[in-house]
């Protein structure tokens, strides 16, 4: 059984990224927990393969036309980063500010939004909301380009308050209209051509075009507005400033952070009716929000070093999202050491499991937690992880097998084999039932060192990939 230090580090690495292997965990433990947290938050990641390399072999990965290559490019980054924390952060914001291909028909604009999340997603929340309000993908997705002086479209105003900042019950319908008025004139350049291309899903004549924000003073309603009790000739920036001052905003964002990094909360629509799992933690995070000037990174630093995060009670208390499952597995198998055709196919698996990156089911994003699981997606999830872990030709799996063989020598016992494998895969903790089942399986196949054949180990690793614990993070 791994030491407590290793188990805690494994928990941290699953939450800040997609899990770490045994060797990585040993290295991080030596640095010390708090240092590791600071490094992850403060250092820029390194990528094993450059974007030039990806682009040479898979030209659509960085200049995407369609709906899928963006997700595959993103998945490469999750797999090839030494600390995929920034990609985890963009995944976090993508789940909240969910924007989708269905309406945009333009992969580049979506990929730009994900880049924006990784650039601004750890900064001040006010800046992030400002960038979001100027983001071309969001402007089309929630129709702000169709909102005009004297003829508002409320869509963005409503979701900004309901889904992106305060949550229902903290503002009135009148407030929504005032917000919509304040954001009139916030649109995209060449709006008619860009929306015509999106609506017609047109790649003609020469492919899709990237988009950029444009502020149209003459279409902005500059008159006085009253929002949350304050009155003035508000523009969008003023609205965001007022939003960020609200206690409700602090709580709403804190609850999202808690749900993503600590343990699954119920889906957002249920929040007004269900108390948080840990109200004190939400309260404490809200305080940091105000103390540190709405800074997300400082909220996370506090969180990762907090007792409630480190507590064994929350270890493995989340269901892996399909992207977490796929990225985490590929980091173990290390099968993509350079751009590879199979990458595109692999990325499609997140879609089969119900999470098509940059194409969420609606503006609400995906419902996380146990809602990932149904009898159809369980088949996809189990088959994916078991076939990847069971493929002994994968570089990472080969290495695990070599480690097993060099560590076991003469004293083979089923317990020892199980322990090594679970450690190698990132210090996975399993229940008594699972352990007994694995034990019986090993006993039925492997008596001694000489039975450690590739076929037997492959079957064992497939069973490990299929165990319920592998579905948790």
């Amino acid at each position: 059984m791994s030491s407590n230090e290793i188990l805690l580090m494994a928990h941290l690495m699953r939450r800040v990224g997609f899990g770490s292997t045994k060797d990585e965990l040993n290295k991080y433990v030596k640095k010390g927990y708090d240092n590791q947290v600071d490094e992850i938050l403060d250092l820029e990641p390194n990528y094993e393969v450059s974007t030039h390399m990806i682009n040479r072999y898979q030209p659509d990965y960085e200049s995407p036309m369609g709906s899928s290559a963006n997700g595959a490019t993103w998945l490469y980054r999750m797999v090839w980063s030494d600390f995929p924390f920034k990609d985890k952060i963009s995944l976090f914001w993508h789940g909240i500010f969910a924007t989708g291909y269905a309406k945009l028909a333009n992969g580049y604009v979506l990929a730009d939004q994900i880049k924006m999340f990784s650039n601004y997603g750890l900064g001040n929340y006010q800046d992030l909301l400002l960038q979001l309000s100027k983001d071309p993908a969001m402007i089309i997705w929630l129709d702000n380009c169709e909102s005009h002086k004297g003829a508002i479209n409320e869509n963005y105003g409503r979701e900004l308050l309901e889904l992106f900042s305060m949550g229902t019950g903290n503002y009135t319908e009148k407030d929504i209209k005032e917000v919509a008025r304040a954001f009139t004139g916030w649109t995209i350049a060449n709006k008619d051509y860009m929306t015509a291309k999106s609506q017609r899903d047109s790649v003609w004549p020469y492919g899709r075009l990237a988009m950029h924000f444009e502020y149209k003073e003459d279409d902005h309603d500059g008159d006085e507005k009253t929002f949350l009790g304050e009155t003035g000739k508000f523009n969008g920036e003023d609205i965001i400033e007022i939003i960020c001052k609200q206690k409700a905003t602090a709580k709403f964002i804190s609850r999202h952070i808690y749900s993503f990094f600590v343990e699954d909360e119920p889906p957002v629509p249920e929040w007004p009716y269900k108390k948080p799992n840990n109200p004190e933690a939400i309260e404490a995070l809200s305080e940091v929000y105000f103390d540190k000037g709405y800074n997300i990174k400082e909220m996370l630093r506090f969180l990762f070093k907090s007792k409630f995060f480190k507590s064994e009670k929350v270890w493995n208390k989340r269901v892996k999202s399909p992207i977490e499952l796929v990225a985490g597995t590929l980091r173990i198998t290390k099968e993509f050491h350079r751009p590879d055709k199979e990458q595109s196919l692999t990325n499609s698996h997140t879609q089969f499991m119900g999470q098509h990156a940059m194409n969420p089911p609606s503006v609400e994003g995906w419902h996380w937690g146990t809602e990932w699981l149904d009898s159809g997606t369980v088949v996809e999830r189990v088959n994916f992880s078991s076939s990847k872990l069971g493929n002994v030709n994968n570089l990472g799996i080969r290495k695990i097998i070599d480690n097993i063989k060099s560590n076991i020598s003469n004293q083979f016992t089923p317990e020892f084999l199980i322990e090594i494998v679970l450690e190698e895969l990132g210090a996975i903790i399993v229940s008594k039932t699972t352990k007994e089942t694995l034990n019986d399986f090993v006993k039925s196949k492997i008596d001694s060192e000489k039975d450690l054949t590739d076929d037997n180990l492959s079957e064992f690793l497939q069973l490990v990939g299929a165990m319920p614990e592998y579905q948790r993070t």
């Binding site: 028909a105 899903d201 699954d264 119900g354 039932t433 089942t437 399986f441 319920p468 948790r472």
Partner: protein, 389 residues
């Protein structure tokens, strides 16, 4: 296969139930080269590059004809088993594949919805989800039409290889590993919410696999289907129908109909494969005396431009759908849209009947389910179902 739970099939009542097969023509089927207004001069003028040869078009009423490759569908038409739904669409056409397909899937044309119309239907049919195979999708990943919270749908790539952990070599080894799998997902396993859900779904996944592989092994037929994706899917659907496992909804796709270029060749191949596959499927149903129990809907997210672009056609609106089956009253439903310039919408055929009228008809008259809660309101219905049967 798995004998660890002999009671697993108890809830399945052997009965020959009615079912609906939905085939999505992905990419936007060119309605004008499917149901061809070949006596109309505007057709020939606007399709200078890609019009179909007049003497090969299969005439059906003196002014309209099927695409030359739709011979098998024409045979069903002659038996009065094909309802042609002309001018089908929705208000304010959207010509993006994804958005338009979403509209057809969610039956919601104004706002972005996440539930699918068939997902909601399954929830009505089996609210306690007693049967994990009430709906079966052929293809990987669930189309939004079938998505609905807490509604289980089996997604099958290929019935012959469908199952858990297909990479385990050898059936004996696989059965062995699956026994351990079922222990790990069994009732002895833990108590928290995640484990309960995993355990529940792990068990229903095994049940689904068990039922569907049973359907595969029981099947026998003298019909020889061609070897292409849509034929394979329809053959798999026939297998599940004959196994009487309570499946009410089947879903499959044919494509891509996105014929911006090289349309004459590509469109012909797509319809040949589909039409032949449907011919074999209905022959198979007849052989098993099930022709009257199955209704097939063919739909596409939109039609295409009236005028060609030199080698294909671009995205348009206004399309044609087909409903086929032994219980269908053959004939024309909806009106053939006029091709006159004044009647066009931005160069497209104008829709004259809402696709939700067709959905409502299938729900109320075929599946016997109240369409109003599923579609959100009462839509006028067609009368293409032969209610006498």
């Amino acid at each position: 296969m798995l004998n660890s739970n002999p009671n697993r099939r108890d809830f399945l009542i052997e009965q020959k139930e009615r079912s609906l097969v939905v085939i999505q023509l992905s990419g936007g089927n060119d309605a004008m080269n499917t149901l061809v207004p070949y006596t109309n001069g505007i057709y020939h003028d606007s399709r200078s590059a890609i019009h179909l040869t007049e003497n090969k078009i299969i005439d059906i009423n003196g002014s309209l004809g099927f695409h030359p490759e739709m011979g098998e569908i024409n045979k069903l038409w002659n038996q009065n088993k094909v309802a042609v739904i002309n001018g089908i669409g929705y208000p304010v056409p959207n010509r993006s594949h994804f958005r338009s397909m979403d509209i057809w899937h969610t039956a919601e044309s104004e706002t972005i919805a996440s539930d699918g119309w068939l997902g909601r239907t399954i929830r009505e049919i089996d609210p306690k989800h007693k049967n994990v195979v009430t709906a079966v999708n052929f293809g990987r990943g669930l189309p939004r039409a079938l998505v609905c919270k807490d509604v289980p749908v089996a997604s099958v790539g290929d019935l012959n290889t469908y199952g858990l952990m297909p990479d385990i070599k050898g059936s004996v080894q696989r059965e062995n590993v699956l026994n351990y799998f079922s222990r790990m997902y069994g009732p002895n396993q833990g108590r928290d919410a995640i484990l309960n859900t995993l355990s529940e779904n792990g068990v229903s996944a095994m049940t689904g696999v068990d039922i569907l592989s049973g359907a595969n092994s029981q099947y026998s037929s003298s019909v020889e289907y061609a070897d292409n994706p849509i034929s394979n899917n329809l053959k798999d659907i026939a297998k599940v129908i004959f196994a009487n496992v309570g499946t009410k909804i089947y879903y499959a796709q044919q494509g891509s109909f996105d014929t911006h270029a090289g349309e004459l060749f590509n469109h012909a191949k797509l319809w040949k494969d589909l039409s032949d596959a449907l011919g074999d499927f209905f022959e198979d149903l007849r052989e098993h005396d099930r022709e009257n129990d199955v209704t097939v809907l063919l739909f596409s997210e939109f039609g295409r431009r009236i005028e060609d672009n030199g080698s294909g056609t671009d995205h348009g609106s206004g399309g044609v759908a087909f409903v086929l089956g032994g219980s269908v009253k053959g004939g024309f439903y909806g009106e053939q849209p006029s091709l006159e310039l004044s009647e066009q919408v931005e160069g497209d055929m104008k829709y004259n009947n809402d696709f939700r009228c067709t959905y409502a008809t299938l729900l109320d008259q075929w599946l016997g389910i109240d369409s109003v809660p599923i579609l959100g309101k009462n839509y006028e219905q067609h009368n293409f179902i032969n209610t006498g049967i």
